[in-house]
């Protein structure tokens, strides 16, 4: 059986977006979903198509083995943060920093994609040579055969804009302190 491609949900916005557009089940069928522990704690509610607030409950999905939890240690997190320039670091949430730690620790990045609803987090992936793994939620769903009109932060245009910005910051030395 062919292994499913890995898909890291880099921030709570990505998780919420997947639930809000009713694409979560399809993503879980098509990808091996990885979610950082801090993001799991943040992604607690979403608003459905008629605006009702609904619980997400990712712990249940982890217990059933549907998705994988990534748990960084504080020292691993520290190494990630220490590499980031304050210009980008201050704009990132702790959950995103844990997700970046996952990407930093990966030796082989060819079999993984990530989704983020945060421009700064997409920019920061350049710091760990992971920008090429960026995907929009719309594109990830399209690869499972679902086409949906989504909010801008879940579309390819958003990802492309922030990848370009990330590349610019990398060149200017505003992404990593050791560049």
């Amino acid at each position: 059986m062919r292994r499913k491609p890995r898909l890291l949900l880099l921030d709570a916005g990505a998780v919420i977006g997947a639930f809000a557009c009713e694409g979560w089940d399809q993503l879980c069928k098509s990808y091996h979903i990885v979610v950082p522990t801090i993001v799991i704690g943040e992604a607690r509610f979403y608003h459905d198509s008629v605006g009702n607030q609904r619980p997400i409950g990712l712990d249940h999905h982890i217990e059933s083995g549907l998705i994988e939890r990534f748990e960084a240690s504080a020292t691993e997190l520290a190494t990630t943060i220490a590499l980031l320039h304050p210009y980008i670091r201050d704009r990132l949430h702790a959950g995103e920093l844990e997700a970046l730690t996952y990407l930093r620790l990966l030796e082989e990045k060819s079999g993984i994609g990530f989704i983020s609803a945060d421009g700064a987090a997409i920019q920061a992936t350049y710091a760990f040579d992971a920008a090429r793994c960026a995907l929009s939620l719309a594109e990830a769903l399209k690869r499972c055969g679902i086409t949906k009109a989504l909010e801008r932060k879940y579309c390819e245009e958003f990802v492309r804009k922030h990848l370009a910005e990330g590349e610019r910051l990398l060149v200017q030395g505003l992404l990593r302190v050791d560049y």
Binding site: G13, T37, T75, A82, R152
Partner: protein, 383 residues
């Protein structure tokens, strides 16, 4: 390099700075028992990233500080109105954390305030009521507060002078008997007001805190000179009285109050209802108004004492309070919320950071439209 020992030391230092026990920290961070904290502080347990986040929230400290990647800023004295008994450091740490976030938003959005609050020379051991009243008159003019200063004080301090004004329903358990606090630091000037208080009491507290903010540096110097670490100087009680005199003078200008009273002088009396309406008009309590009228010799002090003890006056005043009280203010000032929204719309920060700054769980509030980034950056030429 960050190791278990560094993290252990930083967590212990941050906990002790707030005056928390290990038990309190365990409860606030959502840990099942204090053994976890004890093990972490002895460097015997590896801290998970998510645990560090819980701890940083409980300690109102950046994770970078707990990881030893950023130097902890030296303690900043927060001045509390009416003493400090019964408090631990959580409100102070929370106020400073919020003020720093506010300053960060200002920086991201390029929106620093047009003016900075001045720092006046002030010697607490030599000051007089006269000099404090003169200072209030001068500041009413500097801040351009007009005839009814309470009507514009909050907006002027927040929008023009960038004073970061937050609200919390202060409780006796956490805050002792204090009703407001203020601080000046690397983030500018910040004030904490009691959201549970009446609007006119908050106005007075804000004016009171303004006195402390504009005399901050001088008083800090005198404090360091006259008091041992962790103690209040002998003149602190007098300083609080000066701050009250400043507030009364700032909010109840002699000239505009005089015009109102002179118009009634020929009648030789003033009705209870007029006094109460006058207090509401100037945005102060009836007590503050009556004391001020006594100070300005429009009413004898004995009359003031008698009025304040009259149940009829109390009933009438209470009835008026119900009508004018209004809703309790939100924790964050409107400018803070505006800057946070702007930072999100311009895609400087993402949804998670926005939720962190608003101190709300993501998904529990409607996110501003993320499709406005390009529109937000559209420029036009100024003539």
């Amino acid at each position: 390099m960050t190791d278990k020992q560094t993290i252990a030391e930083r967590i212990r230092a941050a906990r002790e700075a707030l005056g928390y026990t290990q038990q309190t920290l365990a409860e606030l961070a959502g840990f099942a028992n204090l053994q976890t904290i004890s093990d972490i502080e002895r460097g015997q347990r590896e801290v998970k990233a998510w645990e560090l986040v819980q701890l940083s929230r409980a300690l109102h400290t950046d994770i970078d500080v707990l990881l030893g990647l950023r130097t902890a800023t030296p303690p900043i004295r927060v001045l509390w109105r009416r003493g400090s008994l019964g408090k631990d450091g959580r409100r102070e740490a929370q106020l400073i954390e919020r003020a720093r976030r506010f300053a960060q938003l200002e920086q991201w959005c390029g929106e620093t305030s047009p003016s900075t609050l001045p720092n006046e020379e002030f010697e607490p051991t030599q000051a007089t009521y006269r000099s404090v009243e003169d200072l209030a008159d001068r500041y009413r003019r500097i801040l351009d507060l007009g005839n009814i200063p309470a009507a514009s004080l909050l907006t002027t301090l927040g929008e023009t002078y960038g004073v970061k004004i937050f609200y919390e329903p202060l409780t006796e358990e956490v805050d002792g008997d204090s009703s407001a606090a203020c601080v000046r630091g690397d983030f500018g000037a910040a004030v904490l007001l009691n959201a549970s208080e009446a609007p006119w009491r908050r106005n007075f507290s804000l004016a009171h805190e303004l006195f402390h903010l504009i005399t901050w540096d001088s008083v800090e110097e005198a404090w360091a000179r006259d008091a041992a670490v962790g103690e209040e100087p002998e003149w602190f009680e007098q300083l609080e009285k000066f701050a009250n005199a400043f507030a009364a003078n700032l909010l109840l200008p002699e000239e505009s109050l005089g015009k109102y009273m002179d118009a009634r002088a020929d009648k030789g009396s003033i009705r209870y209802v007029d006094l109460i309406n006058l207090a509401r008009k100037f945005g102060v309590s009836t007590q503050a108004l009556l004391y001020r009228l006594a100070k300005l010799r429009y009413i004898h002090q004995e009359t003031v004492d008698r009025v304040l003890e009259d149940p009829e006056f109390e009933t009438l005043d209470r009835h008026s309070r119900h009508i004018h009280w209004g809703d309790a203010p939100d924790t964050f000032p409107e400018r803070y919320l505006r800057l946070a929204q702007q930072a999100y719309e311009r895609e400087i920060i993402g949804p998670s950071k926005l939720a962190e700054f608003l101190e709300k769980p993501l998904g529990s509030f409607p996110l501003p439209d993320s499709g406005l980034a390009d529109a937000a950056e559209t420029t036009l030429t100024i003539a």
